[in-house]
């Protein structure tokens, strides 16, 4: 019983400490967006694919890129951000993994000849309409970058979401093997486009995230206020009720464990 009590108290104290630590951190906030709404399905690519979109701005301190792709069980997605030719070399130019290499090749094929300033890779198994790819942050913004991405090994169609645009500013993509890979573009190649690269009918929605400067503590009141909206019985009481319910559930559970281990 004594050991159970000690473990319980130590565990709950550790939980409280972890809570304080987490709430002292800052949530990721939107550092920038390309202003495109992911309202239209621009293309759907089976298996492997890649794409590049120029005329993007990578905000300073970006820690992740949200790319509007859609899947029920998405594959690993690699991103490489290439600066314009005279841009700043940041994260180096060597590819760390097969996926990253594909994204780098995609960047090269798309004519984005500057150095790679940032790259990252998502975990596989993502679902829904965005995939978030973490990046190593740069301490300053880089304008006019080309964001390239690549994925492979998906056994379903991966959709690119965005909005229609003029062809000259549209994103490019390739189905099948990632663009720039030794065997060229899509299986059999895509008509009318060297290497299987073709223009999308629009631009893909992209968002850039960075670590926020305000802690969760300082956001507590606004978060609690928002929790109370869109409810049957609106009000900040919702947040207070959740806190009370969880506290009482934890207290009851702890008491029960101590009682039963006697």
């Amino acid at each position: 019983m004594r050991a159970a009590g000690i473990v319980l108290i130590a565990g709950l104290l550790a939980l409280a400490a972890a809570l304080v630590l987490v709430l002292s951190g800052s949530p990721a906030v939107l550092a920038g967006t390309n202003g495109i709404e992911p309202a239209a399905r621009l293309a759907a690519v089976p298996g492997s694919g890649s794409g590049c979109q120029a005329r993007e701005t990578l905000p300073a301190h970006t820690t992740a890129i949200r790319l509007s792709l859609e899947a029920s069980s998405g594959p690993r997605v690699a991103i490489a951000v290439r600066a314009p030719a005279a841009g700043t070399a940041g994260a180096g130019g060597t590819a760390g993994s097969a996926g990253a290499a594909a994204a780098v090749r995609a960047a090269g094929t798309a004519g984005a000849v500057g150095p790679i300033v940032a790259r990252g890779q998502s975990a596989p198994g993502w679902l829904a309409k965005v995939v978030t790819v973490p990046l190593a942050p740069l301490d300053r913004a880089v304008r006019d970058v080309t964001v390239c991405f690549a994925f492979r090994g998906a056994n379903e169609r991966i959709s690119f979401l965005g909005a229609p645009s003029a062809r000259r500013v549209a994103a490019s993509y390739s189905a099948g093997r990632p663009v720039g890979s030794p065997a060229g573009g899509a299986a059999g190649g895509l008509p009318g486009s060297p290497g299987g690269v073709r223009a999308l009918p629009g631009r893909i929605a992209i968002e850039y995230l960075r670590a926020g400067s305000r802690s969760w503590w300082s956001l507590a009141s606004s978060t609690a206020r928002r929790m109370g909206l869109g409810r049957a019985w609106a009000g900040t009481w919702v947040a207070i009720a959740v806190a009370c319910l969880m506290a009482s559930a934890i207290a009851a559970g702890a008491w029960l464990i101590v009682r039963e281990s006697r």
Binding site: G47, S73, A128, A154, G230, V242, A249, G253, S261
Partner: protein, 541 residues
């Protein structure tokens, strides 16, 4: 505690008590003049008898089990407040089903997503379509939006009045009606306040099912692993604060009720294997099976395991008390279990619909495809691909990326997730728990071997459900690699998780068992707390 009540697994003949011993028995032969009164009296006595037995049965449930149920209820209510309206998979469709059932007293006839006008209004004003699947969008954020929402919903309530519009039930249309019929009660109670009031009350009913799930998980472990008292509480509490269960039971979703029904079935089967099958036990299993069929189509996956359990139990009874006695005990339960299916088929046949209603289409679609391909797909959905199998999931590991990661931390429309490093921490915890459970199983290997039949029944229920989920997912393959499988579909097996946790407590040994149990409960509590915080951050941060 219950070990003391152990009966050695001997079945007591259901007819052991003479009929005349029952109050009111023997009046059946009363002459015509008194027949009505005698009949009414018999019914009254029988009702009182049943009520007394129920009271006695409830009084035998340990306080710890009730507390686990209470904790589960409270946790699910908390989840119902944390989760924004309609931000759980298919909640819109489940709400629409209840709405149609309550307004027309008829089952849904269309599976389109043309919901009733008041629901559509709420969905639009809450920006549900914009928020779901897109974690970059939170819920409504201004008081002006809230005022407009409240005003429009109030206007809709007064405008629709008694001639409220009726819509279709979306994806839920093919589901059986029992859960929705129960949800019609809170729906009607909240009718004066509009859609959001109704939804909030309906979610509270789902939370009650979370309590029942934890209660029966506790009781199942007490029957299946009676030696360690603290392990029952650890198992019950872990289930009670399990975030996946809280999330789904804090929403309008028949999965909440199915979890409770499945946990109750596991308990009844464990009890029957331990104490022998009585007529009352068979009736309980039959009634729960019927309720399961009427709750959600996924119950079909559990049914073969239940049938196997009844077959093994009746075989054992036949050997001990004779085949005729076994049939007498089993027949009413079987008839009760099969009745919903028979009635459903009869209604469909008489109304010139497909024999199995909406399900017929899915079955027909299955038959048109390769059986070997389907078997390979289902295998790969849960297990590593074998040589010679086609690649159905690319570089994704379904076990890791869909099931494990999903159960560890994906909520809402699976667009809300814990950071990936949590998976690693969870994997370490799961490995430790499995190691302790394996140790307990190894130490008691002989005792477990004697219970091979019982274990086969639980395995059959689990495999049946997994195969059903896989077969359903295969319908949308290859357009979607894994369009259907969601971790919530395996929640009806939560009683088995409870048993594994109880085994882990025992595996830690007599000295450290309680401490290991306390650690497991703390881990589950931490998981729950941070999961709710993640949902709060996603929608309101």
């Amino acid at each position: 505690m219950s070990a003391r009540r152990r009966t050695g697994g001997r079945a007591r003949p259901a007819t052991a008590r003479p009929a005349t011993a029952r109050p009111g028995a023997g009046r059946a032969g009363a002459g015509p003049p008194g027949a009505g009164r005698a009949g009414a009296g018999r019914v009254g006595v029988a009702t009182r008898d049943v009520a007394r037995r129920v009271r006695q049965a409830l009084a035998r449930v340990p306080t710890a089990a009730w507390l686990c149920a209470l904790v589960a209820c409270v946790n699910a209510v908390s989840w119902s407040l944390v989760t924004p309206p309609f931000q759980v998979p298919d909640e819109q469709a489940h709400f629409a089903y209840v709405e149609e059932l309550a307004r027309t007293q008829r089952l849904p006839s269309s599976s389109t997503q043309d919901y009733a006008p008041d629901e559509v209004l709420a969905l639009e004003e809450l920006e549900v379509g914009r928020v779901s699947f897109q974690p970059e969008h939170g819920t409504i954020a201004s008081r002006a939006q809230q005022r407009k929402l409240a005003r429009d919903i109030a206007r809709a309530v007064s405008a629709f009045g008694s001639s409220r519009g009726v819509g279709a039930a979306g994806d839920a249309a093919s589901e059986p009606p029992l859960y929705y019929a129960l949800e019609a009660i809170p729906y009607e109670l909240g009718a004066g306040g509009g859609v959001l009031d109704q939804l909030a009350l309906m979610r509270l009913l789902s939370a009650v099912f979370a309590g029942l799930t934890a209660l029966f998980a506790f009781l199942f472990v007490r029957e299946a692993l009676p030696a360690s008292r603290v392990s029952w509480t650890v198992a019950g509490l872990a289930v009670a604060v399990m975030p996946a269960l809280g999330s789904i039971s804090g929403a309008v979703n028949p999965e909440a009720m199915l979890c409770a029904v499945a946990a109750a079935l596991f308990y009844c089967l464990a009890r029957a294997f331990r104490r022998g099958l009585t007529r009352r036990g068979a009736l309980a299993i039959g009634a729960l099976t019927a309720v399961g069929f009427l709750t959600k189509l996924n119950f079909l996956g559990l049914a073969p395991g239940v049938a196997l359990g009844l077959a093994l139990l009746s075989g054992r009874m036949g050997r001990e008390a004779g085949a005729r006695h076994a049939v007498r005990v089993l027949a009413p339960g079987l008839a009760l279990a099969a009745s919903p299916v028979c009635v459903y088929v009869a209604i469909n046949v008489l109304s010139h619909h497909h024999t199995l209603g909406f399900s017929s289409g899915a079955l027909a679609a299955t038959y048109k495809r390769s059986l070997a391909g389907e078997a390979s797909y289902i295998w790969q959905l849960y297990l590593p691909r074998l040589p010679g199998m086609g690649v159905d999931f690319g570089d994704i590991s379904p076990l890791r990326d869909l099931w494990f990661r999903g159960l560890v931390g994906e909520y809402g429309f699976e667009d809300t997730f814990l950071p990936r490093w949590v998976d690693t921490v969870a994997a370490v915890a799961v490995a430790a728990i499995l190691a302790l459970a394996a140790r307990a199983a190894f130490v008691r290997a002989r005792a477990l071997a004697r219970r091979a039949g019982e274990l086969a029944v639980y395995a059959a229920m689990a495999v049946g459900l997994l195969v059903l989920v896989g077969a359903s997912s295969y319908l949308s393959f290859p357009a979607e690699a894994a369009g259907f499988p969601e971790p919530r579909y395996v929640l009806p097996l939560v009683a088995l998780l409870a048993a594994a946790l109880a085994l882990a407590v025992r595996g830690a040994g007599r000295r450290w068992g309680a401490a290991a149990g306390a650690l497991i409960v703390v881990l589950f509590i931490a998981h729950d707390v941070f999961s709710q915080l993640q949902v709060i951050a996603r929608y309101y941060g």
